[in-house]
């Protein structure tokens, strides 16, 4: 088994545990490279078709290429796709800095979708190497009744035994690719020939390393116009992956506040 085989086997194990131990789960599809890898892994885990819904909590502000991608592959991959809207900006905590406040719409949209369907588990494509508070996450991460993350009281988790009993009305976040890195995602995407949104590839000296809402996501300087070139770029760069995501950098704790409130 090579490195990617090991990552894949571990993720499949997590998917199967989530499906076996929870009653009603959905995969959060943000249309980005990470959640596309997740869908691919889920299809591997369940031998072709993902046996639970793909939930797109739509801010309405994604790039047109992303919506085209969603509509095309939602059909091709036979996904049970549920698109759920987010509330307007006025409905969101006004004390948050602007970009974080904009992103927090997604948290609210997520809560509405949870209330609508009654999911007890949401599968999310976050990774430890993306950001320092995500590095502290559990694979099965309990959320409070308000969808909040209690970072001071995370349960023990070891030897692939997961805490999978959310209290009535609360849900779990399941993180099947928590142990992957950005380079792992690209190497696997290439090996498995998983489709990607072309915005990730450099055009006119710029490319997107991470895709979010149009108004709070910026491209980085890059000449990498293929996955191979991206991998070489990642080998050399010291720029963090989420450098182009405004919401991470407004204040020291902006991102933690978002996550504690239930953001991904």
């Amino acid at each position: 088994m090579d490195h990617l085989d090991q990552l894949e086997a571990q993720s499949i194990y997590i998917f199967r545990e989530a499906f076996a131990r929870l009653k009603k789960i959905a995969l959060l599809w943000s249309l980005g490279k990470d959640s596309n890898v997740m869908i691919w892994l889920a299809r591997k885990a369940f031998f072709g078709r993902m046996p639970f819904p793909a939930l797109h909590v739509d801010t309405g502000k994604k790039f047109p290429e992303m919506y085209r991608f969603r509509d095309h592959y939602g059909k091709e991959w036979e996904l049970d796709l549920r698109v759920e809207p987010c509330p307007p900006i006025d409905a969101v905590d006004p004390t948050l800095p602007p970009a974080a406040r904009s992103a927090a719409r997604k948290t609210e949209g997520l809560k509405m979708a949870l209330a609508k369907y009654g999911f007890d588990g949401l599968i999310a494509g976050i990774r430890r190497d993306e950001e320092a508070t995500r590095a502290k996450e559990r694979v099965f991460s309990p959320r409070g009744l308000e969808g909040n993350w209690d970072v001071r009281d995370q349960p023990p988790e070891f030897w692939d035994h997961f805490n999978a009993s959310p209290p009535q009305g609360a849900h779990l976040r399941i993180h099947p690719i928590l142990h992957w890195t950005e380079a792992d995602i690209w190497a696997y995407t290439k090996r498995e020939n998983i489709p990607i949104i072309p915005l990730y590839l450099a055009k006119d000296g710029k490319r997107y390393r991470s895709l979010g809402d149009q108004d709070i996501t910026n491209p980085v300087n890059s000449t990498a116009s293929s996955i191979d070139e991206i991998l070489i770029e990642l080998e050399q760069t010291k720029v963090p992956e989420r450098a182009g995501r405004a919401l991470d950098h407004e204040t020291e704790d902006a991102f933690e506040r978002l996550r504690v409130a239930g953001y991904l």
Binding site: F47, T133, Q154, P240
Partner: protein
Amino acid sequence: MNMIVTPASPATPNGTTRPQVRIVIVGHVDHGKSTLVGRLLHETGSLPEGKLEMLKAVSARRGMPFEWSFLLDALQTERDQGITIDTTQIRFRTNSRDIVLIDAPGHAEFLRNMITGASQADGAVLIIDALEGVRDQTRRHGYLLHLLGVKQVAVVVNKMDRVDFSADRFKEISDEISAHLNGLGVKPTAVIPISARDGDGVAERTGRISWYKGPTVVEALDRLEPARALEALALRLPVQAIYKFDDRRIVAGRIESGSLVAGDEIVIMPAGKIARIKTVESWPVTPVAGRQGAGRSVGITLDRELFIERGDIIAHAGAAPRETRRLRARIFWLHDKPLAKGDQLLVRCGPKESRATVVAIEKAVDPGELSSSENKAIGRNHVGEIDISLSNPIATDPYTENPRTGRLVIEVSGRIAGGGLVLSVDAGQRAVPVDIVPVESALRPDERSARYRHNGAVVWLTGLPASGKSTLARALERRLFTNGGSPILLDGDTMRAGLNSDLGFSATDRSENIRRLAEVATHLARNGHIAIVAAVSPAREDRATARRIADTAFREIHVATPAEVCEERDPKGHYKKARAGTLASFTGIGNDYEAPQAAELVIDTSKRTVAEAADEIEQMLKTSGVLFDELVDLAANI
């Protein structure tokens, strides 16, 4: 999450292949774990752009000198209180390794988070403050590394600047911690003097520690090895689920050890059912040919429809794990309420879960203290050895035989509350069922023995077919009855016609046959009767099971009539049929009878009459306290 990492690791774009090693940094609170991590990242050029400036700003905002620990202590409460609360991971590279560093909190309050982090590691760095020396949390973490199966440990003595880089102080601490770790069976790979804040000993041997000749921290990390491969062990495929999304019935799970390939004959434990692997399914290409090894998540189909459920273990026939309702484990306990004898829990071994009862607690210890205090209960953050009785049989291995399947976790109210290693599996032990409340007889044992003039007993006659067991049993029964006793005959063949009519003659069925005979006999004995069991019972292990069940009431009699005599007698014609090949699974003409080594009595019926033999048995029952020699005034003893 505990990934197995093999040396053949990622081919990076520049074409090199580097092993990935996961290392946890542990030790007492404030001894400098997070600082060491920050320093390591800095020294190896692994910090992302702008991170150093960010840390300076964050430190300045709090009016503190530059604080490396803010790199990993990302949570506001961690930064404000200056302690690590939860475990985290960060990556960097040395000359020959890709390293995943796991930072674990040192505060006793957050031991569960330390365990979460350390359980994923291939190796550990145990850090000790040169000024403070070995502290309770140092010892506790050392002990937990042992329990978590982390065997490679490098020790660093930090803050050497605070003790003027004293070689004597270093040696003092080095000796103390080495002795402690050796006592746990852990041999430190290195003991290194450092100053994480200033950088001495981390990547370079500076002049201030010129007296030190060993490796730096980076060099020591370079020497740690990835986790060992599990493919060489016996196959263990715990079943996660059975999928029937289309016309295939796929048994899905991850191979924890060993390997499998289509065509293998497998056994499904604990039921013991046999099948053959038809295909190994996959996606997008299926089926896949070739051998699948440990670490793979697979799906297989079988050549026959069997009832399989989540938690079963698939193994190769002949190398299956043991089925048990009782086991002993060495555990750590994380719940607020101490674990006590009689507590009811949920135990998980891989995907298998079973309700369980704690039947005994041994060696409850605070691993942070030097003197081990024996207790009745295992307190929070303490360790101990416990005996667990399971309500469902599970298949498992002692951890010394299989580190993957030989471990368990304990849940209380849906949350993981502890975990540990399976020390031993007691295959024949009685379970104490969780929801069954046995109704005891209204009669006291002494009331019965006053009437029968004997205590209850299980008289177990074992021997070759036609050795005379049934004849002796009937004679003994008559003798005891005539004397006013209450004997009851349990003949193996008779029981097979009823209670055991679902059982055949496979090794598993024979064991079950014996277990049931022993259970029924023991119930009778407990109620004052003398149960006389006549059964070939050829397997020594099965008879040992029977003895365990009946305990002190058990009296084994080996009817040791020579094989030739038995075959000549052959009252049922079995030997003839077996010789002619028309009777399979017959004990007698092969070497499959395992004679007892310590029976209470051995009788050769070719050398004495039935009456003489019955005399001998009666005498043995008298001398071993079953039969009362003469009329005893029982009332006087009550």
